[in-house]
């Protein structure tokens, strides 16, 4: 196979799988709580800054993972209690409140680290030969980890008892509560879990991104578009949404450039929002 084609395909897979990890947390929270957490991107951003912080302390890169999970898990806990739980009955206000939260987190990080771009060194340097094409090792590892993570979570969601409970609550909140599923605790844990997933994605992606306070904005929009295109609430929808958004951006970027890629994604999202707001796989 032509090595350039190989690289282009790997780039698309990388884009789609990492995007799916970011969206997964958002989608689980939305599916269960009906809450569109517009601050989800900021948790990715905080995860990335954790990686930067750890590296600045000359600690091993992997130490960033527990730190990010701790920071974002705690933040998620506080946010769920103060902003999300009191507003279950007011979905539009939740949207606004989490939007305000996203600004708050962005500005807070900016006040600490400034507006500048930070670089995180890649923990794994060099490249690997994939079918005759050189591909950066870390990027390849990240793709594999992302796919494994999404697959593992889907498997867990389908097979585990907690997964079944979550699905029960998604289907019918009152009924789930009445058969003894602890709905409030489950909702809290799910929200925290979504935040942790975002933080993990942030740590993993940090070496490949210009780490800056507005990083989350890009992710939340793309994630929202994935949910719009895929349809809110199903995993098939999530993966196909990530495929469409990540794939289109990556392919158009490969043939033209990033600006066109981004513009195309925006146009697709607007068309979906307007003409097919329930996405490709609507929740029944």
């Amino acid at each position: 196979m032509d090595p350039i084609l190989t690289i282009n395909i790997l780039n698309v897979v990388y884009e789609v799988s990492t995007l799916a990890v970011v969206v997964l947390g958002l989608a689980v929270v939305f599916g269960l709580l009906g809450v569109m957490n517009l601050a989800h991107g900021e948790f990715v951003m905080i995860g990335a800054y954790c990686a930067f912080f750890i590296q600045a302390q000359n600690l091993p890169f992997l130490a960033a993972i527990p730190l990010a999970l701790l920071v974002c898990g705690f933040l998620g806990l506080v946010v769920e209690r103060l902003l999300v739980r009191p507003l279950y009955a007011r979905p539009f206000d939740t949207l606004l409140a989490t939007w305000g939260l996203s600004m708050l987190l962005r500005e807070a990080v900016e006040a600490v680290y400034g507006r500048g771009f930070r670089s995180v060194a890649t923990p794994l340097t060099g490249s690997v030969d994939v079918l005759g094409a050189d591909y950066p090792s870390y990027r390849l590892l990240l793709t594999v980890v992302s796919i494994a993570l999404v697959a593992g979570l889907v498997w867990w969601f389908v097979r585990s008892a907690t997964g079944r409970r979550i699905r029960a609550v998604v289907n019918n909140r009152e009924l789930a509560g009445s058969v003894g599923i602890p709905v409030t605790a489950l909702a809290r844990n799910t929200f925290v879990f979504g935040c942790c997933l975002a933080a993990l994605a942030g740590v993993m992606l940090a070496p490949l991104l210009p780490v800056n306070p507005t990083l989350g904005l890009d992710f939340i929009l793309k994630s929202f578009f994935v949910l719009v295109v895929g349809g809110l609430g199903s995993l098939v929808g999530l993966i196909s949404g990530a495929g469409v958004i990540g794939g289109v951006e990556s392919v158009v970027s490969a043939f033209l450039d990033r600006t066109y890629g981004y513009t195309t994604v925006l146009i697709i999202a607007i068309l979906f929002l307007w003409l097919r707001p329930n996405g490709l796989f609507p929740r029944t």
């Binding site: 780039n11 990388y14 670089s119 340097t125 490949l208 210009p210 800056n212 990033r258 600006t259």
Partner: protein
Amino acid sequence: MTKIFNPISRRRFVAGAVGTGAAVAAPAVLTGARAAGEFKMATFLALSGPASLFGPTQTACAKLAIDQINAGGGIGGRKVTVIPADGGATPAEAAKAAIRLMLRDKVDLVLGSHNSAVREAIVAALKGRVPYVYTPLYEGGECNPNVYVTADTPQQQVQPSISWLAKTLGAKTYYLIGNDYVWPHKTNEQAKKYIAAAGGKVVGEEYLPLGAPNKFEDAVTRIKAKKPDLVVITLVGGDNVNFNRTFAGFGLDKSIKRVSYLLEELTLFGIGAENSAGLYSAMSYFVNEKSEANTKFKAGFAKAFAPKPPPLSMLGADVYSGVYCAKALVEKAGGANDAGKLMAAANNLQYRTATGTAVMTNRHVVKDMYLAECKGTSFNIVESFKAVAHGQTCS
């Protein structure tokens, strides 16, 4: 501009503010009034945005120069105070800051190290009413009244380096990549001229938005497909770091040489030793340039900021020289108020720089230029070009 209302006294201002909304006006009271007799210099340095990794060295060098000048009696006997502003802001924000500095803080001079979009916005806002010294390398052509440029021009950066690289490396095919704004476009315009003159061919050219979180895997893949001999890079700051890392990450550094026109010690440090093979830079200053003046400058810098001096690079050294240029200019013109006198004084103006002295003609500077090859995270000067003309014709 005609003044309808006299500048108001502080007392009257407070009275007015109380009547109209004290909350709006109070901060102005805190910052508005300054002792007369000081020489107020506004500095637009990269405090935010993609170039903000240059901020610390710029700020430190400005401080060093001003402290030295104040120790020696200030500018024309007036003590220099600095009012910092963010040169990394968007052009519109920078223009508003320039208006604020001019109208409210009444600064005597503006000194800036930032991108050209911001420069154009500041020039338009100041309209020549306040002298403006611009220090970082740029695309050339800035001839607006009361603007003084100490920067490297493409004629100085690109011409000697391209001919040397074409000859020494035997580069035939070139790929141009830069941020989408005026400096990369104009610089590449010049570069294409010199590439053609050297018998080379441009096989690809692309621009990425400035200030966006850019990713480079597709650009690098395109470059890999085109297999050029030399990639000419006019990306700035964080983008330059990420591009070069991605470039080497995809293994392109093994076969393709690169030259970057905004690559100094800080950017190189960000790129990292493992990603810098076959990377060149062409500028008028490298920290390990071995002149006596530079050794003295570096010693002064290290002493001033002991025990932990911030990193030093060309963008800081330029600011240092720019401050001395401002001093020489104002003293020669006998004050900073008269644009005509200042512009006359700028002709053949001699001033102190980090590496010796420089002479200004056409409100630009003739310079010695260097071409360096990256060795790990330091530069190895491979060629010097003496007294390269700036190619500008400002009157």
